[in-house]
């Protein structure tokens, strides 16, 4: 008995984590729809739905795994309905269900589909069952034909397009990694940007800007924030030097 309980707990935990993952994905979609309504295109939405569908199948598969205890054998019973707001419940459900009232219980604890939906489903199933084998075969063949045709068209277009892009590869190099690094280090750390102010080093000679840092501010070769291994010996004086007149002033 104890073992079974433990197993059940484990299963539920797994199940919950899967559901949470699923929920996060749905959240992301809703967020996108709310914030970028104008720029969402149907392909991405379709992709997301495809992901949803696989998730859903995965969950269903997990549930139908033989060794799992049959969840359907357990039932959830509402012991008490309460129209008052229940803070705990609201917190658990992230403010979606403020109270376990008569209003929502039939919807949330439903184990069967709504009669209306059920009826519709029956109708469809009935229709499918009543179909003649030969007619079905025929329709299938026709549909296959159409799909194959479309597939042909698409693959042809793709071939053409690939030839075109293949031709364009020959343009040659359009970007350079070295340049990128120059630019990024200039913008982020000011490399090569610090002006060549003649500075007298202790030796009394002019120091090019690529040399050791002499300005009290960050030198070009000083590792940037976060990488400073330990303060260089000149650190202490640097702090004081902040009060000294600066070349910019």
């Amino acid at each position: 008995m104890q073992r079974e309980d433990k197993q059940l707990e484990l299963v539920l935990e797994n199940f919950q984590s899967k559901l949470n993952e699923f929920k996060a994905q749905i959240y992301a979609l809703i967020f996108k729809l709310e914030h970028e309504r104008d720029n969402v295109n149907w392909t991405t939405v379709l992709d997301t739905f495809a992901v949803f569908s696989t998730q859903y199948t995965a969950i269903m598969k997990y549930l139908s795994y033989e060794k799992l205890p049959q969840l359907r054998n357990y039932s959830v019973l509402p012991l008490m309905l309460n129209p008052e707001r229940d803070e705990d419940l609201a917190r658990i459900t992230e403010n979606r269900v403020p109270a376990l009232s008569h209003d929502i219980v039939p919807d949330f604890l439903r184990t069967k589909t709504e009669p209306e939906v059920e009826h519709k489903l029956m109708q469809v199933e009935h229709k499918a069952g009543g179909l003649q084998f030969e007619t079905a075969q025929k329709q299938l063949a026709a549909f296959n034909k159409v799909v194959n045709h479309v597939l042909d068209l698409v693959s042809k277009a793709r071939e053409e397009w690939e030839v075109e892009t293949g031709a364009r590869v020959g343009i040659g190099q359009t970007s350079s990694v070295a340049d990128l690094h120059t630019l990024v280090s200039a913008v982020s750390m000011g490399k090569n940007l610090k002006p060549m102010v003649p500075q007298v080093s202790p030796g009394g000679m002019m120091v090019p800007p690529t040399g050791r840092p002499v300005t009290p501010s960050m030198g070009p070769n000083t590792p940037p924030m976060g990488m400073m291994p330990k303060p260089p010996p000149g650190m202490k004086t640097n702090v004081k030097a902040a009060g000294a007149p600066h070349p910019y002033r």
Partner: protein
Amino acid sequence: MEAIKEAPIPAMDSLTSAMKNNIVPNQEYLLQGSVLDSAVEVLLHRLRGLCDNVDSGPETFHDHEMCFSIRSVTPQPLTLRVRRAIDYLDMPYQLRYIGQPELGDKSRPTILRNSIDVATTPTIVDFLTEMGFRMDFEYILRGYMFRKGRMKITVSKIFKMMVVGKPAPESVDPISQSYLVELSVLAPSNQDAIAEDMRVFAEQLKPLVHLEKVDYKRLTQPPL
């Protein structure tokens, strides 16, 4: 007696509640790349096709950026950037804090860094100087800006200033033969979904421009 408006909330309190609700845009998702001068026209053309502001044409900008830093007891200086438009003198100045770029692992498509953007009056330069900040370096950016949804794409040329504090066109010098291409989104925390969109967009610019996560730490090491 008419209805009295709610009493004003202290600014700090409203800011904290805004932070809690994750509506303060304090993070920047960033991808960077570069394009050679010879290919920039092709890139601009492609961006015009991809981005939202097609009818008005690309928006040009001409900015002057100054990087200020201050040292405190900690070894790490605090760095702030001030940016102003040279072509529009009545625009507010932009004061910006940029935090450590986080590369993250392979699964994260973009660099993520803290960023606080504040519009201010032009007195900010004097203000920072008097506060004890000092200017580390400055440069000029000139280029084009595009928009695609929440994404911002800038294609800019970086110029070095030959004369301190004087961004005159005759006294600037391009620092490389390439344009810097940046794709960025400023967003509140925990909106990682946008990063995926950025990756897809960057994919569309290949092979013209490779937008990537530039590792800042590697850049500081001298070339071997």
